[in-house]
Amino acid sequence: MNPSAEAGCGSEHCITCGDDGVPMTVLALDAERQLALCVDEDGVRSQVETALVEPVAPGERLLVHAGTAIASLAASVNGSVR
């Protein structure tokens, strides 16, 4: 379980109500089960569903919501704010 979950709603951000998306990096893959071990910017590791963004590769950056990768950030080229 991700330690941030223990913080619950008393923490700064709620998972669902914040429509939260956490950028994470893929460390290792279990391609058969469509799972990946990922790490976030704070070094917290967790298991992530990758079925919605397959294929993924180690080192790839994913946008993760509630344990599921919902977008690949590597494919996001239109990042300009101007």
Partner: protein
């Protein structure tokens, strides 16, 4: 931090604020609704509204799935949690939401086995670790979260985890928006569209807003510059007399959404005829339940769920806050009887709820001065 720091640049923020100032007509009042609770949180966390001219008002919409869960649904969850042999799992957001007879946290204190999980996958893992117990996952959230539940339901089926089930309270974003737009007491000039919901559903489902109601909508990311740029894009549409769906968050939102996610949701869920929203009442085809094919994993089929219906507390004005009719501090109990420590309404529970965002970032005093 890549994808974050470049969207918090103060110089760019000031430039966008200047652009906003140049786009507004003096004497015209602009009311823009940010649909998503995540936007509400970012706006107050980063002080985005302080950069806006006085005649640009941000109204906070119904896009916090915790805030819209009716009390009866919480009571149903508590009843399930108290059943013999049940481990009741839910996101941390939900445990403090008050039902008519306390919260899930109080149920836990009273002996129910309530556990906070970060993902449905964690709930499934608990089920595998406790084969002699029934593990129920209280699934809440909009289309951002629903695919995660759907994938876990499919995984439970594939891995033959028989002691796992889902109490499905997922909701969809379009029906409440339509209900809001039909509301006679609402006057809005445009919408800041939800970012991560749109990662899943795409931009297309929002086309009815300009087509049927003549309002612009810009889908936006959650960093301060994302929100400021979305406001620029909406104001530019208004200034040019245009009315379209625009996508500020194109770095993660494809126009067609995530096709695989939509497919897995279509397989695992079906629309409920009606679903009750706190403050908004029953809205047709706005909630999801498990489809016939997955009914054996539906906790409401597996267990006796009371189906409680509870009226919202009279003192609480969450409904008007959710519709953007009043500001949180205009509620009679805001900051006095209703605080994040002892919430009466759900908008004060979730940190993304409009009331909690106002309270936590000290907006009750400052707003009064402005208004």
């Amino acid at each position: 931090m890549k994808f974050v720091e470049e969207f918090r640049d103060p110089e760019l923020g000031r430039a966008l604020a200047g652009e906003i100032l140049g786009l507004v007509e003096p004497g015209r009042h602009y009311k823009l609704m940010e649909v998503c609770g995540g936007h509400t949180h970012s706006i107050y966390k980063y002080g985005v509204d302080d950069l806006l001219p006085a005649n640009v008002e941000l109204v906070h919409g119904p896009g916090c799935p915790v805030c819209v869960i009716p009390m009866g649904r919480v009571d149903d969850g508590i009843a399930l949690a108290h059943q013999d042999g049940v481990i009741f799992t839910c996101f941390g957001d939900m445990v403090r939401v008050p039902g008519a007879n306390g919260s899930l946290l109080e149920a836990k204190a009273a002996g129910a086995d309530v556990r906070i999980v970060y993902s449905p996958l964690d709930a499934l893992r608990i089920a595998k670790q406790n084969p002699d117990r029934q593990v129920v996952f209280f699934a809440i959230g909009f289309e951002t979260t629903a695919p995660s539940t759907a994938l876990t339901v499919k995984r439970a089926r594939a891995e033959q985890v028989k002691n796992f089930s889902v109490m499905c309270s997922h909701v969809t974003i379009v029906p409440p928006l339509r209900a809001l737009l039909e509301s006679p007491d609402l006057r809005l000039d445009g919408f800041i569209g939800p970012g991560h919901v749109s990662t899943i559903v795409g931009a297309r489902p929002f086309e009815f807003i300009p087509a049927d109601y003549g309002k612009p909508i810009t889908i936006a990311g959650f960093e301060p510059l994302d929100i400021l740029q979305a406001i620029v894009m909406i104001l530019r549409q208004l200034a040019e007399g245009r009315c379209e769906v625009e996508n500020q968050y194109s770095r993660v939102v494809p126009y067609e959404g995530n096709v695989r996610a939509l497919e897995v949701m279509a397989e695992v869920f079906e629309l409920r005829p009606h679903f009750e929203w706190r403050g908004l009442g029953f809205i047709s085809h706005s909630g999801l339940k498990l489809s016939e094919a997955y009914a054996d994993l539906d906790a409401e089929v597996r267990f006796a769920v009371p189906g409680v219906r509870v009226a919202d507390p009279k003192a609480c004005q969450c409904g008007e806050v959710l519709k953007g009719v009043i500001k949180p501090w205009e509620c009679k109990v805001f900051g006095t009887a209703c605080t994040p420590e002892r919430p009466i309404g759900t908008c004060m529970v979730s940190s993304e709820g409009a009331c909690a965002a106002y309270y936590n970032f000290g907006r009750f005093a400052r707003e009064r001065e402005v208004v």
